[in-house]
Every structure is written in structure tokens, then in C-alpha cells.
């Protein structure tokens, strides 16, 4: 993997408003959207490839920046609603404009991104600056013509889906029917129509009649990429539930339950919380699901509910350090996971700005680091290794030297090419695998 570009948003207030909280490629990979803790969305666009300057082709540059959400206050509960963008999802493109959904803890918004590169000139009633002309000076009529102008990207809010959630929204997912989408909070999942903002349908509700009986919450959810009636949601107990919306209006009863029995030899104070699934992603094929819990990533086959077909250890050396990780709150970190375009490689983040990739076919894995030193343009990323005692090679890093404040929670993989976007705190790294690209 080669280092490609690093984008850092300077933080004026220094309190972390620029910490990237979500990263998402659109369906073609031409656009990459990031959301941050300050409620801003930054969209990057890939430069078209040019034969004249092959070395700058494929670079992502800033396309547009806008403020998606602002901090709000719930007066009834005396609670502040954070403006942090939890998730961004692109809509499939249906015309010249691009649309995306962005959500904070409570409100989902639909934004339309349009380009303007021409403007009309030659109005009869207005002059160049837009002021009304003195009618007595108008002696002839002309037809306004469109003249080219500098590209202007406009982002406008088209829909605001508010008041749908009592608890904190953790995921949104656009249906393959391109008409509906779902939003999930800790206890409920709602189905919305993209054109209707004043009502939504509740399709999953796991709130117990008595909150004292609460044992699990919803942690992530996603629609099936091809079957518009199927969706999956993950729970804090480590289970996945596949639901079919054709079965009933309320999908509390799952069609399939994917759960792996806990290994009793790994039991500890923290067993329950490290089994919580922090992210679930369908494969592009729709046949598999990828889940991330605190220490592992697992691949599940939709046809087998009893256990995952593959389990990969992300950082098993942390298993003996769970108590310290509980003390410094790292045990609550929610890592995301991603498939590559062909579903042959999976990727997830870790600590010390490391991220891991697992090749499902060769069973090989690699640990890479997202850092400025290793990310100069066209620098090759060097595989890293964490040593857990025993003989230590040069450049190995020991478990105790890991920096737990540098965590890679959000990663995204281009839908078709080997380009990945890695969010490391307030830096965005984009890496390309030039070996496999067709540019050579």
C-alpha cells in the first residue's frame, strides 16, 4: 500500500471538534464523505485520471464542506444533543446531483450536493450585479445566455427527519429500493421514506416493558444490499438478528439469530462487554456478514446461524489487559470494519494508529500504521508487528508501548478499487494499492 494523501483540519479551539467520527465512500468511489465531532461534513472528490500527469491521478481533494448539525438542547430532559455526526450514508445517484444522509444522536438530514459551473448573464431587468435597472435605459430585449463560471458546489438540506428517536441513533442504512432507509437507536429501529419526514414506521422495538429487565441494546444495523426486505441488527450481547419485513410489520421476532456460544475459558469480569458487536456489514455479494467486537472480527454466512465461518484476532494481546483498558475507558471503543470490493479482504482499526487487514483466501494478515512518517506520497507502507514477549525483532513495538489514545475507529474501502480511507483522530489518510491498480 502506498501513502497517498493526508488531510488534517486545523483545530482552532483544540477541544477535538475536528475528530473524525465517520467515513464513507459513495457508490462509485468518486466521492468520500467524512463527518466530525463538530457536526461538519467534508466531501472529497477524486481527481479524474489524466494521461499527461499520471502521478496525480486518483488523488482526493476537498470538494465541499458544510455544517450538517448544530448542538441542540432538549429542554424537556435538560440534555444537550451533541452535533457529532455519527453516520453518513450516500444515496445511489439518480441524476446529476449527489445525495447523502447524515445523522447525529437524534436527527437525520438529507443533503443534496449539486454543482454549478455556468451562470446566466444578460438579464434585461437586472444589471451585472443584480440590481434592478432603470427601465428607461432598457431599449432592446436580449436573451440571457449561460456562461461558464468557476465551479461552485452547493449543498442544501432537502429533508430533516426529526423526533423519531428517544435514544441515541447509532446507525442508518439506505435500502436497495432507493426509497426507504432505516435508522437505529439503542432500543428501536425506524423505517423512513426518503420523501416523508413527518412520520416513520417502527420495525424493531426491544425496549422491555420494565426497563429494569433491560439486558441488551441494539448496536448497529444494516439493510441487505440486494434484498430490500432483509436487514440485520447486532446487539450488545454479541448476537445478530436477521429480519424479514415481509413476515410482519413489527420485526421483533427475528428470522435468523446468529450467535456463537461464549468460550468459558475466556470468562472474566469483562467478557460480556467485549462480546458486544460494534459494527456489522454485509458483504457486497450479500452472502456474508462481517462483525467487529472488541478483540475480533468475524465473518458469518447467512446460511449458518450457529457460529461464524471465520474469526480473526485483531489484537488478542489485549485480552490480559482488559482491566487497564476498562480503567482508561478504551474497552468501550467502537471499532468499525470493512470489506474490499471483491469481499476477499477485510479491514479494521486498532490502537497506536494501527489498522489490520485479513485476506480471507490466503489467510494472511498485515498490520499497517497510519502516521505522517509512513505516509509521505508514494511511500510504501511497512508492515508493523506487535511483540508480546519472546524474541523481539527490530522495529517491533511492545504491547506496553502502544498508544491507546491513537485509535482508528473509522475506516472505509473504495467500492471497487484498492483505495482505503483511514480516520485517525482528526487526520484522514488515504492509501492506494498501486500494484493492483490498472494505472501501470
Amino acid at each position: 500500500m502506498e501513502g497517498e494523501s493526508i488531510y488534517e483540519v486545523d483545530s482552532e479551539d483544540g477541544v477535538g471538534a475536528d475528530i473524525i467520527s465517520t467515513v464513507e465512500f459513495n457508490h462509485t468511489g468518486e466521492l468520500l464523505a467524512t463527518g466530525d465531532k463538530g457536526g461538519r461534513v467534508v466531501i472529497f472528490q477524486r481527481e479524474p485520471e489524466s494521461k499527461n500527469e499520471p502521478y496525480i491521478q486518483g488523488e482526493y481533494n476537498v470538494y465541499s464542506t458544510f455544517q450538517s448539525h448544530e448542538p441542540e438542547f432538549d429542554y424537556l430532559k435538560s440534555l444537550e444533543i451533541e452535533e457529532k455526526i455519527n453516520k453518513i450514508k450516500w444515496l445511489p445517484q439518480q441524476n446529476a446531483a449527489h445525495s447523502l444522509l447524515s445523522t447525529n444522536d437524534k436527527t437525520i438530514k438529507l443533503w443534496k450536493v449539486t454543482e454549478r459551473d455556468k451562470r446566466p448573464e444578460g438579464y434585461n431587468l437586472k444589471d451585472e450585479e443584480g440590481k434592478l435597472k432603470d427601465l428607461s435605459t432598457v431599449t432592446s430585449l436580449q436573451v440571457p445566455v449561460l456562461k461558464p463560471m468557476d465551479l461552485m458546489v452547493e449543498v442544501t438540506p432537502r429533508r430533516i427527519f426529526a423526533n423519531g428517536h428517544t435514544y441515541h441513533v447509532n446507525s442508518i442504512s439506505v435500502n436497495s429500493d432507493c426509497e426507504t432507509y432505516m435508522s437505529a437507536d439503542d432500543l428501536r429501529i425506524n423505517l423512513w421514506h426518503l420523501a416523508i419526514t413527518d412520520r416513520s414506521f417502527n420495525i424493531v422495538d426491544i425496549k422491555p416493558a420494565n426497563m429494569e429487565d433491560l439486558t441488551e441494546v441494539i448496536t448497529a444495523s444494516e439493510f441487505h444490499p440486494h434484498h430490500c426486505n432483509l436487514f440485520v441488527y447486532s446487539s450488545s450481547k454479541g448476537s445478530l438478528r436477521l429480519c424479514d419485513m415481509r413476515a410482519s410489520a413489527l420485526c421483533d421476532k427475528h428470522s435468523k439469530l446468529f450467535e456463537e456460544p461464549e468460550d468459558p475459558s475466556n470468562r472474566s469480569f469483562f467478557s460480556e462487554i467485549i462480546s458486544s458487536v460494534s459494527d456489522v456489514k454485509f458483504s457486497h455479494s450479500g452472502r456474508y456478514m462481517l462483525t467487529r467486537d472488541y478483540l475480533t472480527v468475524k465473518v458469518w454466512d447467512l446460511n449458518m446461524e450457529t457460529k461464524p465461518i471465520e474469526t480473526y484476532q485483531v489484537h488478542d494481546y489485549l485480552r490480559s489487559k482488559l482491566c487497564s483498558l476498562y480503567e482508561n475507558d478504551c474497552i468501550f471503543d467502537k471499532f468499525e470494519c470493512a470489506w474490499n470490493g471483491s469481499d476477499s479482504v477485510i479491514m479494521t482499526g486498532a490502537y497506536n494508529n494501527f489498522f489490520r487487514m485479513f485476506d480471507r483466501n490466503t489467510k494472511r494478515d498485515v498490520t499497517l500504521e497510519a502516521s505522517r512518517e509512513s505516509s509521505k506520497p508514494r511511500a510504501i507502507l511497512k508492515p508493523r508487528r506487535v511483540c508480546v514477549g519472546g524474541k523481539r525483532r527490530k522495529d517491533d513495538i511492545s504491547v506496553d508501548s502502544l498508544d491507546f489514545t491513537k485509535k482508528i475507529l473509522h475506516t472505509a474501502w473504495h467500492p471497487t478499487e484498492n483505495i482505503i480511507a483511514i480516520a485517525a483522530t482528526n487526520n484522514l489518510y488515504i492509501f492506494q494499492d498501486k500494484v493492483n491498480s490498472e494505472m501501470h
Partner: protein, 235 residues
Amino acid sequence: MEVQKEAQRIMTLSVWKMYNSRLQRGGLRLHRSLQLSLVMRSAREVYLSAKLEEDEEGRLGPQPCLGEEGAGQPPLQPAAAASPGPPAPEERAAPADRGNAPGAVDPEPMETQDSSGDAPPAAPAPGAGRRPARGVSLPPPAKASRKRRSSSLDKPGAAEAGLVPTKKARLEAEEEEGERQPQGQDGPFPSLAKVLQTRFSGMLRGGPPKGPEPTPGCRPGDGVLSILVRAVVAF
């Protein structure tokens, strides 16, 4: 012993985290609260089972307790079990250690009472635990729970200071009933609170134990747990 200490430490840490999570922007996170309560429950179970075994040994007389304790508990990670070796005989448990535990623990539950009222004040007096232990390194075991219960009520200005919520009466009623559930708010760990209350209401009701105490350090543990109960229910 080490296991018990570790479990107690984790319980304290969990309570402190629960309190802190209410102060952060965006309000209480249900998932986080649930996770904290799960850890606290695990720690509580370990603590109680270790304590029960200790009590039994105390009644039966000092015996090597390696096998029982080792088998009785779920295997703990090395970090949790501070010494991988066999647990020390109980006589070795320094009262100073146990005395320190309440002293160390108390400031944290005390802080919970400073939390302002964005919580539905369904909880009984968390302020009850506040006064007595401050400045007292090892409160007399027999008086610990009683003293805490009464002192905050009598303290002048306690109400103004917000130390004594108006639900004090409910606390005593709950302790008497031993079964009453905490008020059903959307509290994220009410099941834990309920279990703790029902479990410990008996202990609190029972008052000081009669007869020779195996170790003076045992009682402060009860006092600590009573504080923890109140602190949890306070949410």
C-alpha cells in the same frame, strides 16, 4: 483476598464511571450504562462469593482454602487476580487494607451526591453515605451503616446542600420491605440496582453482627456495599 479487593475496586470504578457518564455532553448513554452495570454485577458476584467463602472459613476455623476458592470462582484474568498464587489465609488480611478500602471508596460515592438534578431523583438518600467516613480511616464496623443512615438526616443544612434528597423516607421503607423496586425511570441499570438492594437490604436491616467477628475488616465491606447500593440506585 486479592480477588475480593480487585472486585471491590472494579465495583468502585464502575460507580465512578456511571456518575461521570451523566456529566458528559449528550446525556446518559444507555449502552455504556448497561455495560458498566454488567461489569459491576460480575464484580459483585465475585466479591460476594469470595466473601461468603471467607465467612465460612471464619466459622469453620482457618483452613487452607486454596482449592475451594480457586474452584469456586470463575477464572479471572491475570490483571484482575493480582496474585496468581493461592489466596492468603484470612488472618493475613491486614485490617489496614480493608480499612483503606472504605476510606478510598468513600470519596467516590460521595461525589455522586454532587450530581445535579438532571436525573429523575428517584433514588433514596445517596447522601446518607457522605458524612461519617470522611476523616475516619476505619469506621467502627458495627456503627458504619447506622451512622451513615442517621447522620445525614440530622445534619443541619443537609437539605439545602442537597445532600439529602427528599426520598430519604423511601430508602428506609425499601430497606424494611426489602423487595420494593426502585422507581421505574429509564434507569439503565435498574435490574442491578434491584438485585443489590434486595441482596443487601437484609444486611443493612440486620445491623451489626453479634458474636465474635472474624476480622474487623469485614464490616467496612458491608458499609461500602451499602454505599454502592445507594449510589447505583441514585441513578
